[in-house]
Symmetry: C2
């Protein structure tokens, strides 16, 4: 999936009954990173409030009671901003989609249900000349085994990793990417989940890919980005190497990216993971990531992005200092304080390591593995 987001949108976001800091992740990603493209949020239980009041960011974007009420803001797109348990489209949400399409709005969705495959939706979209963007749909051409193209890559790849899943890897990396953009550095962002793909307009939803193709599917996105001539490619991480359920996705991303450098994301107030396990000791986890890539090439965790939810600014800074002492790495909550320190660390490190210089033919498994 590449560059589907070619134009600036005017989005109304479905977040019915769930708009909030922890319960509407896709909506919140859009509001945080595409605020100028969001015209309204649908949540009848919070009608009359604003994004700023509910999230603490997003300014005056209004919360409205219904899609119909949102039409007054002249949206051109309905974004499904919340996910039901199971990721499938609930029957009760169908009217939002049909109403949007009937009014000529495009529909953007990160659900597992592929809306474009629904005959009623497809028909409505065709009749009203609007499009359905399924962020989670994996193109057949992405179902491929990794080829190891990093060996001939001139662009640098930077991957976020975490002490746990759902810890803020996308956000930390977006802040660094923003900082690179601000400095005029030629960089790109490859999403690997629906929110990252939506925000940056490219990437692949790796959680919908079978194991054998995870590395290959992200490698393909990096190759496409490199072919556009970017110098630094930021790759959104997923899961965690020490998460019992999701670690396989993480390792696939690591081998598909073969990162020149990594940024570790950590939340000091999170005491345990989904399983009740204490989060791993930072230096041990850093060594593990470097060792795994070290079988192939040198790499380094160059900085730590803090998710300081639950901490005051002063506490966040103090916690960052403590972690810097322990790890020797620059540490900052980039969402609160910006991506400059992590960007500095990256720029400095990347200048010291040569890119891979392999010039022979690329050997790899037979390419397309069985579907």
């Amino acid at each position: 999936m590449t560059n589907h987001q070619t134009t600036t949108r005017r989005m109304v976001i479905l977040a019915e009954s769930r708009f909030g800091p922890l319960s509407s992740k896709t909506a919140n990603g859009a509001i945080a990173y595409m605020a100028d493209q969001v015209v309204a949020i649908i949540d009848s239980t919070k009608e009359g409030t604003t994004a700023q009041e509910i999230l603490g960011y997003g300014g005056g974007i209004p919360v409205v009671r219904s899609l119909e009420a949102g039409l007054v803001f002249k949206p051109d797109t309905l974004l499904i901003g919340i996910a039901p348990a199971g990721g499938r489209l609930p029957r009760s949400w169908r009217p939002y989609v049909t109403t949007a399409l009937s009014h000529g709005l495009h529909v953007m969705s990160g659900l597992h249900t592929i809306l474009g495959d629904d005959p009623e939706f497809a028909d409505l979209a065709a009749r009203n000349r609007c499009s359905i963007v399924d962020l989670r749909k994996v193109p057949e051409s992405s179902k491929i085994v990794a080829r190891g193209t990093w060996r001939q890559r001139k662009a640098r790849a930077v991957l976020t990793i975490g002490t746990d899943c759902k810890i803020g890897k996308m956000t930390a990396l977006l802040e660094v990417y923003r900082e690179f953009q601000r400095r005029g550095l030629n960089s790109d962002f490859v999403g690997t989940g629906q929110t990252g793909i939506m925000i940056c307009g490219k990437g692949v939803s790796v959680d919908a890919v079978i194991g054998d193709y995870i590395a290959g599917s992200v490698e393909k996105e990096i190759d496409a980005s490199a072919a556009e001539g970017h110098d630094v490619i930021f790759v959104e991480g997923q899961g965690a190497l020490t998460h019992q359920g999701y670690s396989s996705v993480t390792l696939g991303l690591m081998h598909g990216t073969m990162p020149d450098a990594m940024i570790l994301v950590h939340q000091p107030t999170r005491k345990a993971d989904d399983y009740g396990f204490e989060l791993p000791e930072l230096n041990r986890l850093i060594r593990l990531h470097e060792e795994i890539i070290g079988f192939f090439r040198p790499t380094k965790v160059v900085g730590i992005g803090l998710n300081s939810v639950g901490l005051t600014d002063a506490e966040s800074v103090s916690e960052a200092r403590r972690i810097e002492d322990v790890t020797g790495l620059p540490t900052v909550d980039a969402f609160r304080f910006g991506g400059a320190r992590l960007a500095d660390a990256l720029v400095e490190y990347l200048a010291t390591v040569p890119p891979p210089r392999f010039t022979g033919p690329l050997k790899s498994p037979s390419g397309m593995a069985p579907e």
Copy 2:
């Protein structure tokens, strides 16, 4: 998938044009481990030979020119013993399936194409009261996130790992399992690929599972086996932690199994992997596997299974001694010389480590993740 293999079969194996040591993996697995259930092999290019002549094992199982010619041996099952590139059923193979079903033979297949979903095949099977066993079909109930049940598991789990993929992990483990059976130890084998599932009658084809469910799908099989009361559960490994394309499957299996012990499989004559990379240094790779599981529990690589293809028996023994010197671990080609040494090492090690004793409630992610 559990216990579909409830009865002894009489199999005729399709291996047309490809019966050979390296080109008919599923057929060869059946011949090596279910020889008394194989009545004939179909390969018109080798008509009149025997399994022994072609593979070096399998005794006098005859190779015949066609399915019809094989019927004289009164098979009750057609096994698809070869895989086309891509894993899909070629149109030219359909007549084998329809002929088999028309004669009342069951059909067993590890193809990605789910034969039971084909209306013509399903109809023929129903009319002739025979069954279609799709070894690679992943039941919906296996599409789950790992729960971390190892924390309350009394059975011991043993996983094979490798210095590369397709290196003999299944074979080495089957030999150790056989040895445990021979000694009357209460053990079980969980397959994770179509051949292992076919041979042992249980398991899940993890290469058809999306990343988030790999660990969960194998954990579920182990739980089912443990519930049957086995003391030791052998889990077939897949891929390799240092294989760029398939590592995600390997890590998912490791976390889904959380093995008490591991057996590393290595092929001394293999100089490079699919990508042209030298196989990793043994001690470094052993440490990496132990470290990854070490975040959760103690574990140990207790022995090394050699795949000594291309070596004489004397060379194999000499290479095993060299590796024992380097690693300090018992090393043997179990396919040639039997699984006794590795079984000894396992029995000895498992006696020294207590099982996990966690008695609290199992915390885990919300269970069923989005499909």
